[in-house]
Amino acid sequence: MAQVSIRKVVKEYEGGVQAVKGINLEIDDHEFVVLVGPSGCGKSTTLRMIAGLEEISGGEIAIGGGVVNDIPPRDRDIAMVFQNYALYPHMSVYDNMAFGLMLRKFPKEEIRRRVENAAQILDIKVLLDRKPKALSGGQRQRVAMGRAIVRDPKVFLFDEPLSNLDAKLRVQMRTEIKKVHQTVKTTTVYVTHDQVEAMTLADRVVVMNHGVIEQVGPPQELYHHPQTKFVAGFIGSPAMNFIPTRLVETSGALNLELSSDIVLPIPEDRIGRYKAHAGRELLFGIRPEHMTEVRPNDHRPGLASFHATPEVVEPMGAETLLHFWKDGHEICAKFDPGVAVEPGVRTPMAIDMNRMHLIDPKTDRVL
């Protein structure tokens, strides 16, 4: 059990390409941290530097207080679960799990106790004698986790462990991973490109893009208070709508002018925050779930309404998605499935302006 410190870490490949551009991150003991971002954002490289599979070009990484920059992977006391599981194809499940302990010269009895204990946790006791080839994807995933658990390492590292599974199994294994972490409480660093996985698993989510950390925080905080346009657009599904707008001050009130016919009032409690930007061209960010059908008797403050003509209507079951275009920008709204909507028919919509974001297009930061 240990904390992980990443200080000013840089990864530079031959030819000067920087995959990681000097990041700082403190991971607490027992914490479950998820690194998330699009492919090529440096999240996997960061994980592999923690593991010792990639050399660190600059800065330092410490595990449990000691700097590990020059310590080979085997002496870092970490365990890793790979995307393709990397199970040894010629060994039984038992031997796969025991291999690391055997190399570390653990007594036979201790190895057996640990493997059986891990098999118990993961419910794979009956599979111990099988070869990886005879296992299903989910079972292989469990064995890969078992291999990590038996080692009882300071840190668990997961490199996109669920991306080879089908959608249903992925949800199931996600729960499983969460359960295991609650049982063993080992500090965990988990890499994924799937923001749903990140949100559901993490104590804290680290959003990376182009080799830098965009934002770190608990899932709810990232959802409600994104600090950059990238995080605002990356977290949440379907993604947040961004609509160019103009912030106009008229007699003490602030309004967003989306176009000549759509003007949305800024809620009173936000006026102080945005006042300095009055008169600027900005980006209006609103999530689809905050653009809904107009409900009668809903008189919450900050609710604005307008009309739009959806071009595509997608019934999803639990909700209905409406897509319409405004000056070349696709906009998505989420309606209650009970409301009948026809494509091509002008429909009234409600916007919850309390959930709005304003983004400075010059810095891409959320105001």
Binding site: I6, V10, K21, G22, I56, G58, D70
Partner: protein
């Protein structure tokens, strides 16, 4: 708790490798030392048993018969002046080219036929047809020698039984040359067959299905799908076989031993004759070295083919 630190990059980076870099470098050096040590026996084999003898062969070829004085290119001049050796050059080239072309065509035909019968039966046929490749060539050539034997030839018996003429297989130069080619083709066709079969199997069926839907006939499928997909393997196999056939020794040695009248000698058997049997080591080395330009050319094309293939697969 940390946030992004883009600005730190510039100041933080130069300092860090200075401390971390030293040991990392040492680690990398240690790793490549181990790797080098593991490859050392291989390097020893290549350097000691291939590169060094190759250089030594060049040196030897410039000596006189008793290896006492340097005579420059004398051995090569004498060889080129000799009627027998010029014949050896011709015979080697004709033998290698004819044999390789026949092996390539027959091998391709058989591979194609094998590919077209139901998968279940392929194993058995493949097993039978590969047998000539498995038997050590020196030994199977003995069998052929016996079948060609002038007084008891079982082949001639078959020919006469079918009303054909009796052929002086090894007695007459033209037939002797043909016999050498026949045996080589017999022993080498299975190799081509098996290589092409592997290549045919690596062409995805969907490509043929797509071609068929695009309106290709069987022949067009072969011409526009199979051959382009196999081009690389075909050329690699042909080039490789060209080297092996060109340098062949076993068949000539057992079947004709160069005769009649030294007319079936190829480079290898002639080098053996001159260098080992007649004891003129330098001239024998010179004969062998005559193979080098052709081998180098073929090797060059092969290396290019292999590299190309690796690039395509990457």
């Amino acid at each position: 708790m940390a946030l992004d630190a883009t600005t730190i990059t510039e100041t933080g980076r130069p300092a860090a490798p200075a401390t971390g870099g030293m040991t990392l470098q040492r680690f990398a050096r240690r790793r490549s030392t181990i790797a080098f040590l593991m490859a050392l026996p291989l390097i020893a084999v290549i350097a000691g048993l291939v590169a060094w003898p190759a250089g030594y062969a060049i040196y030897l070829s410039t000596l006189n018969r008793r290896m006492t004085s340097f005579i420059g290119l004398g051995n090569f001049e004498i060889l080129l002046d000799s009627e027998t050796f010029r014949m050896v050059i011709w015979q080697s080239c004709i033998f290698a080219i004819t044999a390789v072309v026949l092996k390539a065509l027959l091998g391709f035909w058989l591979a194609h036929m094998l590919h077209h019968i139901p998968t279940k039966g392929q194993r058995v046929w493949r097993g039978m047809l590969l047998l000539p490749w498995v038997v050590p060539p020196a030994l199977s050539t003995l069998g052929w020698w016996w079948m060609f034997d002038p007084s008891y030839s079982s082949l001639n018996w078959l020919l006469t039984a079918m009303g054909g003429p009796s052929i002086p297989w090894l007695g007459e130069p033209g037939w002797a040359r043909a016999s050498v080619i026949i045996v080589n083709v017999w022993a080498g066709t299975p190799f081509f067959m098996i290589m092409y079969l592997a290549a045919l199997k690596s062409v995805p069926d969907q490509l043929y299905e797509a071609a068929a839907i695009d309106g290709a006939t069987g022949w067009q499928g072969l011409r526009f799908v199979t051959l382009p997909m196999m081009r690389n393997i075909i050329s690699i196999t042909v080039l490789f076989s060209l080297i092996v056939t060109f340098a062949n020794y076993d068949i000539v040695r057992v079947l004709t031993n160069g005769g009649p009248r030294d007319l079936t000698h190829v480079f290898a058997s002639y080098a053996f004759q001159v260098g080992v049997l007649s004891g003129n080591i330098p001239r024998g080395a010179a004969v062998s070295l005559f193979m080098f330009p052709l081998l180098a050319t073929v090797a060059f094309f092969m290396l290019r083919g292999v590299n190309q293939r690796n690039r395509e697969m990457a």
